[in-house]
């Protein structure tokens, strides 16, 4: 390696590390500030509280996220719509992608076009009529309002992602399975799903993590405090007359991000790969 290359490498690493620090700073600052009193949070860049002034008292206050309910309650409410949503998305999107990627049938082009067009349309465009629909069938203010449609493959993005992945699997595999007498569903379950595992896990995880971020949906479809999910409860912190310590806000924000972060870091290998490949082939 020449000196020039070494210098180049140093420049690159410095740049990468600097950008990494810049990106990570808000998160570390959040974590650090959760251990600080109001006076120590602003006017400096420190992540750690001043020596001897750190405190963990705000975590207890943040855990009691609303007067009557703890964070556990809101995690649980969030899971009540997220788990069915993940299951629905994974199953229905896989079936749909399988049909589109592996069969030729009349109208297939139209189906694929609809998938792409709905991919481009904002969710909000459908919200008003769906609100009225849910009202008429009594789904408003229930968790089902936040997951029922996911059982019907409306997550076009995921359908698209799985199609892309399936294209990389040689067709000979399912053809030979069919010759062995496997029906289409058995072929999917026993031959393809094992190979699709990484993308299926990715779809599940992304659904989960995006669902943690979903704010507009709960805002519209869940109205009673009993059904409040984490995103809504966190927003309540901005409006609460009783929250007077910023440490409490940071602690709550930190705890709210823990599930996402934990899942991400345990499974990052999976989906950094999968996300990478999703757009790669156009």
């Amino acid at each position: 390696m020449s000196t020039k290359n070494k210098i180049n490498a140093v420049v690159r690493y410095t740049l990468l590390i600097a950008v990494g620090l810049l990106l990570a700073y808000p998160l570390f600052w959040m974590i650090g500030s959760a251990f600080k009193h109001n006076a120590d949070i602003f006017g400096n860049l420190n992540i750690l509280p001043p020596p001897g002034r750190g405190t963990t008292e705000y975590f207890a206050a943040a855990w009691q996220l609303s007067p009557r309910n703890t964070m556990a309650f809101y995690y649980w409410n969030t899971l009540q719509f997220l788990i069915p949503r993940v299951i629905g998305t994974v199953i229905s999107c896989t079936l749909t992608a399988y049909a589109i990627a592996r069969f030729s049938f009349p109208g297939k082009k139209i189906v694929f076009t609809i998938v792409i067009v709905t991919l481009l349309m904002p969710e909000l465009a459908f919200r008003i009529p769906i609100f009225m629909l849910y009202r008429d069938i009594g789904l408003l203010d229930t968790f089902a309002a936040l997951y029922i449609q996911e059982f019907f493959a409306v997550g076009s993005f995921f359908v698209f992602m799985i199609i892309q992945f399936m294209r990389t699997i040689p067709r000979e595999l399912d053809e030979s399975a069919q010759i062995d007498g496997c029906g289409p569903l058995r072929t999917l379950i026993f031959i393809l799903v094992p190979i699709l595992r990484p993308i299926i896990i990715t779809v599940g995880l992304l659904t989960f993590m995006w669902g943690m971020n979903d704010f507009q949906g709960p805002l519209i479809f869940l109205s009673s405090p009993e059904n409040r999910v984490l995103a809504l409860a966190l927003r309540g912190l901005l409006q609460d007359y009783d929250v007077t310590n910023f440490g409490q806000i940071f602690a709550a924000a930190f705890m709210a991000l823990i599930p996402t972060l934990a899942i991400f870091f345990t499974c990052s290998k999976f989906f950094v790969e999968s996300v990478t490949s999703s757009g790669g082939k156009e």
Partner: protein
């Protein structure tokens, strides 16, 4: 003795307020004589319900829901009162939901639109009229008057909650208005013995308080006045306008002021900001309520708050240093000018049209408004009560005290009228936009005044 007199006059004030507010009555501030409201205020309340006499839902099990907004003390008090009701009537279950005020209206409108609203709802005065565009969207409470004793309220007070179609949308809990809560130490530091009586004096105080302030609030700025949210400036503005001209915001759907009259108030707001008495728009960062650090750290000088919120705002001031706080009326625009306080019913209670058990809901409401034990639990946590039994008990047990009592005194002695439309979102949203545009300097006082009149007028026109 003073307390006794206070409560009686509170009730009188309520009726005065209402009679002055009938659409045909062109009321001048502080000019209405004590109205001949002969509601017997201090008669001991009749025991409203005797267990066994009338059982909700004929003694069959029923579950109803009640919702309210507020802060912790209110939540605790109401939950205890509901528990009491369930002890008394074990076959009835009352679920409850509550939260902070901000965002509550959004949530409630969504519930109403989705027909998933609770059986009993705490409502704001304006919502009774605004949600249905003049027609009632709640249960007409006249239909449950067999269970809910409407004689608890003066007819005038009920009239407030009666919509254009003649239905009673809610029962009001009390009457409220905004007063100044100020830091006595700020006055002492600037050698003042009492809170400024005019805006000029306030501005003068402000310019010495704010010496040394930075352009942006970096945690050290001090002010003579800190608005704890956009509503503060809105109410203040309309009250100033009213006191300076004797004219309410609108009457019969017509804006009444001239551009000059409105511009004058904008100019005063402008001077408040320029002098540093009040923060600029940029200096005022979220949170826009009493949890704002400027207020909590005692750098705000004063705030302009609902009488019902005095303890809430005071509780956050220097960790509840109530001794440092005083109560005053909003200064007059000009020396000797009117100092009426614009008042409106505080919160009310409505029953859902879609309720399966409207009579049970009405019965619970009646309990909350008339049962002595319940009233003692609720105490002042819903504000100052104006219904007969509740007021009598509040008076007897001296429930309204300290700063809040001072605030009520001010309300009574300076009653003014608020247009029932003042909190209507269709009118309020444009006003907020204009205030924001003016405070950020993107329009001047003249333009602001013109826009104020024309946009409010067109909002009024769209309503009919």
């Amino acid at each position: 003795m003073k307390k006794y007199a206070t409560i009686v006059s509170v009730l009188l004030a309520a009726t005065m307020l209402v009679s002055a507010c009938t659409p045909t009555n062109n009321a001048a501030p502080a000019a209405t004589p004590a109205a001949p409201a002969a509601t017997p205020a201090n008669e001991p309340a009749a025991p409203a319900d005797e267990p066994g006499e009338w059982l909700p839902n004929n003694g069959n099990a029923a579950t109803i829901r009640m919702s309210w907004w507020g802060a912790d003390p209110r939540h605790e008090a109401l939950i205890a009162a509901l528990d009491l009701y369930m002890d008394r009537y074990p076959h009835i279950t009352v679920d409850h939901e509550f939260g902070a005020f901000q965002g509550w209206m959004d949530n409630m409108v969504i519930q109403l639109a989705g027909q998933v609203e609770p059986d009993i709802m705490q409502v704001n005065y304006a919502w009774v009229h605004a949600f249905g565009g003049g027609t009632n969207v709640f249960l007409d409470l006249n239909t449950v008057s067999n269970v809910l004793d409407l004689s608890e309220w003066s007819p005038e007070l009920l009239n407030f909650m009666t919509t254009a179609d003649g239905q009673l949308g809610a029962v009001p809990h009390g009457v409220t208005g905004r007063v100044v809560i100020y830091d006595r130490e700020m006055l002492a530091e600037h050698d003042l013995s009492s809170f400024p009586a005019t805006f000029d004096e306030w501005i003068e105080l402000g310019s010495s308080v704010s010496v040394g302030n930075a352009g942006l609030d970096q945690g050290n700025n001090t002010y003579a006045f800190y608005p704890l949210g956009p509503e503060t400036i809105d109410v203040m503005f309309l009250q100033m306008l009213y006191n300076n001209t004797g004219k309410n915001m609108e009457e019969n759907g017509q804006m009444l002021h001239t551009v000059e009259e409105v511009r004058e108030i904008f100019e005063i707001i402008g001077r408040m900001t320029e002098s540093g008495a009040m923060p600029t728009f940029e200096q005022q960062e979220p949170p826009h309520d009493a949890t704002n650090p400027v207020w909590m750290e005692g750098r705000g000088g004063s705030a302009f708050e609902w009488v019902g919120n005095i303890f809430l705002a005071g509780g956050n001031f220097m960790e509840n240093d109530l001794d440092r706080l005083g109560i005053a009326n909003l200064p007059a625009v000009a020396p000797g000018g009117g100092q009426a306080i614009m008042q409106r019913p505080s919160l009310g209670h409505a029953i859902s049209r879609n309720s399966d058990y409207p009579e049970v809901a009405a019965h619970l409401l009646n309990f909350l408004y008339t049962d002595e034990e319940a009233l003692l639990i609720i105490a002042h946590h819903l504000g100052v009560p104006f219904s007969r039994t509740a007021a009598a008990i509040a008076e007897r047990d001296e429930i309204i005290q300290g700063l809040q009592l001072e605030g009520v005194d001010l309300l009574i002695n300076n009653h003014g009228i608020m247009s029932p439309l003042f909190e209507d979102p269709n009118l309020r949203q444009p006003r907020f936009s204009i205030f924001e545009a003016f405070r950020t300097g993107s329009i001047d006082a003249e333009t602001a005044a013109e826009r104020f009149l024309s946009e409010q007028q067109s909002a009024l026109d769209n309503m009919r």
